[in-house]
Each structure stands twice: as structure tokens, then as C-alpha cells.
Symmetry: C2
Subunit: 235 residues, 2 copies
């Protein structure tokens, strides 16, 4: 067995919410000097919160995101050399609704121990809080952002929820939240249930879960507010 | 707005792993005296770990599980009376792969604030650690336990993973783990990837993620070991 270790470190979802990161993770992070990160700014902020005396300049950072070509050649060398490294997500749990799976997959290829750590995840928190079926669920990532593909997809997932009693979960680019919610309200059946879980873990956390008929009577504004959408049709 | 609150409290996945519960949850739990629980034994164990001086006899417990008929009439009264109550899962995060959604749903019906708290969840930890696509995933709960339904389902989810690039996640009653893994290895394609994440968060945590061809060459024994199964076919 390779002696290298890959730690998967969660990041907080909202500013000033270090309390949601279990303290055992702080001890692990303090002993690591090589980090894969999605965005240097959020990783630095996270590390400074974990330990305000940390010497960021003494650490090594590698990028792991959709926009950079990354052949992971450094990671291969770290794994061969038996190093302990960590991947920190930009927000929430590493490698879920985020890039990073390739790094984890590479670790398994090199028989490196992968250690996932406990932390906040907006998808899971939203599912818990929705009141929808938590025994079968499907996370879609983003729905199509153009018509008629979006309407078609909305009808498809509504049917899937009905047929399989499966909770449908998806996200949207925050500046398009109101738009996708309007489309959902326009195209779903009145008795279909919709939940919007926004600003999770923050003091502004708001979770609204009710039928489309009730959403139609409501004023709402989720513009640029980090939100998770959930849809459920009980059969 | 109703002033009642429903807190969703995670429980640890393995014995002696209180460190995975963020400490802010301990403060919340100490101020609550009405609990919905799946199983009184695990709830008591959890509460004693949170606060060893807690007076369990002074607390009110209600059951929330598949085996008891529960019309939630107490909950309705608590919500009407503006009480703060909590739901503690038997293991992991409340209302995910567990009963409890009905209680959360009732809370929304009464316009009660629902607060989901951060904690360990075996599905999410397994997904992070698998190295499989975390941008689209489907949790099935349990697969059918009889033939030919099981083989049929295995082939169906393998196809779904290939077609949709969607990670398939499922669990099994722990004494049937070896059986379901044998069936997966027998019926999936050699290049299909399977991950078994077992004993998550404990000192015996073990995460194996490789192709079916590699599983075929391996000895394994997950009998009665809490495990999550994941399947992925990259297209």
C-alpha cells in the first residue's frame, strides 16, 4: 500500500460560518502543506480562518478547476513520493457538485488512501430540510439554460419524480435563480412540491417548501442568493 | 410565522466518533427537551456523548420509524404551541436514507422553521471518496433483494450511468453485502467502476474504488460491515 494520503477537506458555504466545520479537521489541515484548490482566494480565506497564524506563503497550491488545463502531473509525483496532500473545495464538500473527482480517481489508481471529511454540503442540507423523500433522490447539477430544452427537462424530471417517487435536486447560476423558479412554477403541476433552500448555514438561511399552487401566490426573490432547488411529486 | 423550530440533528456513523459532529450542535441539543428519534437506544447514547451530565429522564422522546404507526399528533401540538423540538437520526443525517421526511413536511405545513444541521452522512462521504462523477448522482436506497429483479436492476443502473454519466449509489442490509457485491461483479462489465466505502469515519474506514475486472481478482469480506456501494461507467 502506498503511504501517501489524500484528504478531502470541506469548506464553509457562507462567510463567518467556521462553526460548521468539525474541529478535528482543523488539526488535520494544520499539518498539511500541499493543497489542491479550486480558487486560491477562497482557500486562503478558509486556511486563515482555520489558523490565523498560518504562513500561507510556505504552502504549495495547485489549481483544480474547470477552466485550467491540469494534467495532475504534480499529484502523480506526490502520490509516488508518499506525500500527504489535501483538496479543499471552494464551498461545501470536496468533489460533490464540484470538480475534483479526477484527483480522487488518480489517488485510487495509485492505491493512495483517500480520506473524506465531514462538513457542510448544500445538497444534503437542502434534502434534509425539504421534507421530500430522502430514500431515493437524483442530483442533476444544472438544468439546461435555454428553451425549449429547459421546459422539456422540467417536465421530464417531474414525471421521473412521480414514477419513481424520487426527489429531484438541482442548482442554478445564482443570477438566474428567479428565472428558473418562474419556469418551474409555470410548467409544473399545481400539486407538485417545490423547495428552495437558500443561504444555507448562514444567519440568512431560508427554506421554503410547498406546492407549486402556493408558490404561484407568493412573492419571491432569490436573485444572486446561493440556492438549491428540489422538486417532488408524491405518488 | 409560527415561532416553533424543528432542528434536524445528525448522529455519528460509528461508535466513539463524536469528533465528526460540529460542536455548535452540542450547544443546540443541550437546550432542547423534546426529541423525535428512530431508536431510543442510539438517541440516548448520542445525547450522553454530547453531554455526560444530561438528565435523560427529564426529556420527552417520540418514535419516528417505519415500524410504528405514528400520526404525529404530538408534533402538531408542539408546532401549534410554538415549541422547539429536534429530530435525531439513528446514524448520519436526519431524514436522508432514513424515515423523518413526514415530520419535516408537517413542519412546513405549519410554517415552522426547519433547521438542518451539518454532520456525517455515509452517502455523501462515499461519493466524495469514490472518485466518481459528483456533478450528477442518483441514490437508490436498497436494490431489489430477489432474483431476477436484482440482476435486472444492476443492468438498468449500469446503463443509466453510461447514458447519463450519472454515479449510482445504493446500500444493502449489512449481512447481505457480500452477496450484492458478488452479483455486481458477476453482472457488470469488466470496465465498470465499483466503489465500496465501509466503516466510514471510524478507525476501520476502508474505501476501495476500482474496475469490476480488478474486483474479480480480489478477496473481499464486507459481511455485516456498514457499507455504501457506488457504480460508475464513464462515457
Amino acid at each position: 500500500m502506498n503511504t501517501a494520503i489524500l484528504h478531502l477537506i470541506p469548506n464553509f458555504l457562507a462567510e463567518e460560518t467556521l462553526h460548521v466545520i468539525p474541529s478535528y479537521i482543523q488539526d488535520i489541515v494544520k499539518n498539511i502543506s500541499i493543497f489542491y484548490v479550486e480558487e486560491i482566494k477562497s482557500a486562503r480565506r478558509f486556511l486563515k480562518k482555520i489558523d490565523k497564524n498560518i504562513n500561507i506563503d510556505a504552502l504549495t497550491f495547485h489549481f483544480l478547476n474547470e477552466h485550467e488545463i491540469n494534467d495532475l502531473h504534480h499529484a502523480k509525483q506526490y502520490f509516488k513520493d508518499g506525500k500527504t496532500i489535501a483538496y479543499i473545495s471552494e464551498a461545501g464538500c470536496a468533489a460533490v457538485a464540484d470538480p475534483g473527482a479526477e484527483l480522487v480517481s488518480l489517488a485510487h489508481l495509485f492505491h493512495v488512501k483517500v480520506v473524506p471529511h465531514v462538513g457542510p454540503n448544500s445538497i444534503l442540507l437542502a434534502l434534509m430540510a425539504s421534507g421530500f423523500n430522502g430514500q431515493k433522490f437524483l442530483f442533476h447539477g444544472y438544468l439546461p439554460n435555454k428553451q425549449p430544452a429547459l421546459t422539456h427537462k422540467i417536465k421530464e424530471i417531474e414525471q421521473h419524480s412521480l414514477k419513481e417517487n424520487c426527489t429531484q435536486i438541482f442548482i442554478e447560476t445564482p443570477y438566474r435563480n428567479n428565472q428558473v423558479l418562474s419556469e418551474l412554477i409555470a410548467h409544473c403541476h399545481a400539486h407538485t412540491k417545490l423547495c428552495v433552500a437558500s443561504n444555507l448555514t448562514s444567519v440568512n438561511e431560508k427554506i421554503i417548501s410547498c406546492t407549486v399552487a402556493e408558490w404561484r401566490k407568493m412573492d419571491f426573490n432569490f436573485h444572486k442568493i446561493p440556492s438549491v432547488f428540489l422538486l417532488s411529486v408524491s405518488n
